[in-house]
Symmetry: C2
Subunit: 319 residues, 2 copies
């Protein structure tokens, strides 16, 4: 029987699953919206349904999988399989034994990891970071998350390393969704950008951002809406994206000054959508703050796209 592993990327808006073979090829995949009502049990049930669908596409039962990995938000404890304080998920402020719950339903061993760390691992093993031994993964989306690979291995610190979104770029600066001030995410996170756009729109600044959002039936300013607004040369959208790129470039440069890695891999919803388009202003911004700017790290856009998280989660199994 083939060595097939399952991977589940548990996000705030969607659950992406994949069945991955030993060479890293995706042989089945499925996606479900993340339940917005109920609690952890309901989320786990949706994860099970989505993985079963992917397994069906791959022609296997979930019980035949070598194992299943989960990339989770919040505080994901790899040893106990418990996920706590996953605040982007409904009713998940406390702790929930996610691995045990899934194992019972799927009939396979389940390993839990941090969502952005496993996505970084996927890019390192199979994606845009393959040729490097040290890299920083920067996931620019709703928030700004990160992952570190040092000397070919994940660096987790005491379990909470790589919070690149919470490097401070301006003491006393903008309010961050984390409750602090001046973090990268306060300027570059999609959620913070939307809040700022809403504030400025309410103050009377002209922008088509919210008209575009309604026209396309979106509940929020998705990366696609931001792209459309840029294509329309919307002044506010241009200004807020520029501000985001400045914060990202500064924060990444600070991280590079500290770690001196071979590469930076830019992923996440906004990172994948805008990576190529904004690569020049981003690297120019980094260059202003790099201490050894004559040999900057390679900066690459994540190459596994939306499936990176699920593929990375499946890699938890083989360890």
């Amino acid at each position: 029987m083939a060595d097939l592993r399952g991977g589940i990327d548990l996000g705030g808006t969607k659950i992406q699953t994949a069945i991955v073979d030993a060479s890293g090829e995706v042989v089945g995949q499925a996606r479900q919206p993340t339940p917005t009502e109920g609690g952890p049990e309901d989320v786990a049930a949706a994860m099970v349904a989505a993985l079963r669908e992917a397994a069906k596409e791959a022609g296997v039962e979930t019980g035949e999988l070598t194992g299943v990995g989960v990339g989770s938000p919040g505080n994901a404890d790899g040893k106990t399989g418990v996920v706590s304080a996953a605040r982007n998920l409904t009713g998940w402020e406390g702790s929930f034994p996610l691995a045990d719950n899934l194992k019972d339903a799927l009939g396979a061993e389940v390993r839990i990891g941090n969502d952005v760390q496993v996505a970084t691992e996927a890019e390192f093993q199979l994606g845009a970071g393959r040729e490097f031994q040290s890299l920083i993964g920067v996931f620019w989306g709703t928030g700004v998350g990160g992952g570190l690979i040092l000397d070919g291995k994940p660096w987790l610190g005491r379990g909470a390393a790589a919070e690149i979104g919470h490097i401070v770029v301006k003491r006393g600066g903008a309010d961050c969704p984390c409750g602090r001030k001046g973090c990268v995410e306060a300027y570059a996170g999609r959620k913070a950008m939307e809040a700022e756009a809403r504030r400025r729109h309410d103050d009377g600044e002209k922008t088509d951002l919210f008209k575009l959002m309604e026209k396309h039936g979106k509940p929020r300013l998705t990366s696609g809406i931001w792209e459309r607004a840029l294509d329309h040369e919307d002044d506010l959208a241009e200004e807020l994206i520029e501000r985001a790129v400045e914060a990202l470039g500064t924060g990444i440069a600070s991280a590079v000054n500290l770690i001196d890695p071979e590469a930076v891999i830019l992923g996440g919803g906004l990172g994948i959508r805008f990576g190529e388009r904004l690569m020049e202003p981003l690297t120019e911004e980094m260059d202003k703050h790099l201490f050894v700017n004559e040999r900057p790290p390679a900066v690459r856009v994540a190459s596994l796209g939306d499936l990176g998280g699920a593929i990375g989660a499946s890699l938890l199994v083989s360890r």
Copy 2:
């Protein structure tokens, strides 16, 4: 014959040498001012003289040492023993084969390392960081340097890691001696603090800083002069030290958010002098920006004092 190693800490103002036994005890030491005229040959000659003096105190010839380590500023290449771009040293803009030059004069093998990295290593192996497996060394002096120990080993990146002084704390902020803007060192480095004090004094602000400097016959605002000014409740000194602590606390918190180490070790001339006195405001400042502030890293003052750099340099030999 005893296993004795030599260590040389090459600083911008002084050359500190030590003879260290296998248990890390200092059995001889000597110090010389760093030549302010001439070039690398003259600096190397002063290093040789200072190490000979330390060896004499220890009752050995330099040729009997197991080896000699050097902690050097600038770009210190451990493989070739060449030091280049040591801009704090007179006439050392280019490259100089320091290890070979010293080896010929001392009759012992010579290893070269980065000055703050070896001081970090000394605190990790023998000083305030002994009980930890991961730490960030922060050397608060003329500039702000750093060193990283991850998983019990130095992390050098591509050779220039741990530049904690050049983490940005304020985009578009104060001018840094490195030529960039808003770095930690722009607010906290002794050199930058003195330049700011001079500027404000010339603009008519009241301060006793420069009177104290002249009274005590110092050519610059040393850490001792800053301490005296604080003891006199000098307003400008208090303000600039507070500003330095804010920048340090913010920059260290950003580094902790990225690395999540067990400990932060604070050394350097200002760090050793003010570490205990300013520990509370420093950790309060860090706390404002720590992403996981319910379990901050331990923060300790370096315990090997002025000899840490020379002891750390001697540790290069055994590797």
